[in-house]
Subunit: 66 residues, 2 copies
Amino acid sequence: MQTVTLNVEGMSCNHCVSSIENAMKELGASGKVDLAAGKVMVEYDENQLTLDAIKEAIEDQGYDIV
Amino acid sequence: MQTVTLNVEGMSCNHCVSSIENAMKELGASGKVDLAAGKVMVEYDENQLTLDAIKEAIEDQGYDIV
């Protein structure tokens, strides 16, 4: 397992938290959003998933990785 | 029909817009959120619905009427 913390811009409320955490779940990863800090911590199996796929899923929800 | 504009605090993103507009639709009213202005315009049938019911539905979504 691999853990990465991403800085993500545009997350403003609990709906945003859910949309990102659900997107991570759909990928088979586990995401935890720190709204105040603008960070997303993702734990994932590096044999199953690439970091790029994770970033893309977050961007697809309408957020920017910074 | 009656139209009212409410000042609503805490709406921060398009998820918030959807949650409020959907709540209005469920009541049988028609809501339009102006995110930048922090306003919700609601058109409703005053024979079917009270303003208090509308305010309550917005507050139930986690927002404050100011």
